[in-house]
Amino acid sequence: MNAIILSAVLGMVMMLCSFLVKNKSSLKHIASVGLLILLVANITDTYGKALFTFNTYDMFHYGRFGFLFNSIAIGSTLIYVLISGKEIERSGRYVAEYFTLIFFVLCGIALLSFYNNLLTLFLGMEIMTIPLYILTGSDKRNIKSNEAALKYFLMGSFSTGLMLMGIALTYGGTGTFNLEATRNAQVIYKGVASFLEILGLLFLLVSLAFKVSAAPFHFWTPDVYDGAPTVYTSFMATIVKAAGFIAFIRLCAVRMAETNTAIDWKLIFAIIIVSTLLVGNITAVFQQSVKRMLAYSSIAQAGFMLFALMSLNDVASEGIILYAAAYSLATIGIFAVLAKMKDYTFEGYNGLAKTQPVLAATNTIFLLSLAGIPLTAGFFAKYYMLAAVVKTGSYIWLVITGVLFAAISVYYYFRVIQAMYFKDGNSATEEITPSFKTGIILLAGIIILLGIFPSLILNWLYF
């Protein structure tokens, strides 16, 4: 509860700052402090020290899982603001408003990590998405940014429609919006669940698949990520996407698992996973722009995260947390470096190791993490995902497919490394401040640390 209310309040504080604080660069610091407060509040909440206590009428479910993810999301946002704060300042005139929107997004994320009712799911999703439409379009003069915003908006609204249809149908089947539906209706379809509910869940699945950009509902992703200002792409591709997964896995774990006894969602997930991996990995191979490549790569990574949704066991829930952290941190890092580049194509990275060795080295660590090379957090993330499916004992072919696509993913991640280290060129960057370097080195350090001791994060689930 702390996180939900505080983030909304902090958002309003930032709004006030827009006319109270004249110095733009101090906004970043205010936001950082706010995020820190939020993080601390969320952690204290984790251990039962809530600032506010309401009767939520079962609208929310406060579980360790949700708290941990929320902490990760807030922490990642903190790191994101620390590293990319300067880029946010430069992205437009309404800096305070951007921070406001980021806080509102966090509010939505908090809702998504605690929701226990389809209404809160819906609200959380909308609160999270609507600010993103705006952030996407924040570069108002840039036609690409406009286009991305409009595409995102149209398709996002469409998926909202699908989600609502899903909610309505499940309601028709169960008579409740509560996630843990206590069914009084007689079970009909194949001995277990209502037919309408199944159809509704299918619609919900599709709309959430849309949010986490799983193929074939991924189409918005490359265009939007490409068109949005890089600094917001970074935010959208990481924290927001991870939040989508958290919402998704809760839905799967509670609603779909209930219907799971006779109806197997695994095949549907398998199809979605394969097509996501296919589209993400294969299309990324041919991209010329690193930014667009990263968009496809985020689709590919989503494919891996979907493994958790399919298997739904303890390994999966640990894994999705770890994956969310590893993926978010690495991608934030990559985008932070990308935002400093003058040329977003692969050629733009040529010879970065010579001009900016620190950037190149840390960027390499991020890319290795995304590729899932051991000693980086990404390895254990992938490891958990594969383990989750293997543990279910079936769909080994899916694991092998995933592994093969992981090998393909090396292809495009390493193209960046190749450009940075092995090709000649003078890649131009914006000015790199020492604090940026420090931040990015710290980020790389965290990734390596998690790559050796993933339990640093996962222990929070239990202790």
């Binding site: 909308e126 609507i130 439409y133 108002k140 003069r141 609204s157 249809m165 939007v224």
Partner: protein, 111 residues
């Protein structure tokens, strides 16, 4: 009145909305079609609300069952209104830059 009638009606409206989204090129019309879809959902929710109410009535005459669906509809309307304000702002911004709301012209981002 059997619930199937309303399901069918809502489904028809919803699908007309979908067809509109797919076939039209004007961003505003597409947006309107999305609104149409939302309305279909609203109608369906209200119908379900009354259906569940009706079933619950047989057990308990004082029941409140189904009311949450109507509350939900209310929330949907709220969200739709918020969405419209943002959406139209984006469309207007777009129009300012390219002087068109034809989404076929939105193809700088592809492949």
């Amino acid at each position: 009145m059997p619930i199937q009638y309303y399901i069918a009606l809502a489904a028809c409206l919803f699908c007309i909305g979908v067809v509109g989204v797919v076939t039209r090129r004007n961003a505003i019309i597409i947006f309107m079609c999305i609104e149409l879809m939302l309305n279909a959902v609203n109608l369906l929710l209200v119908a379900f609300s009354k259906m569940h109410y009706n079933s619950a009535l047989a057990v308990n005459t004082n029941t409140n069952a189904g009311i949450e669906a109507q509350v939900f509809v209310f929330f949907i309307m709220v969200v739709a209104a918020a969405e419209v304000s943002v959406g139209l702002a984006i469309i207007v911004m777009m129009y300012r830059n390219v002087h068109s709301v034809d989404i076929n012209f939105l193809n700088r981002l592809k492949n």
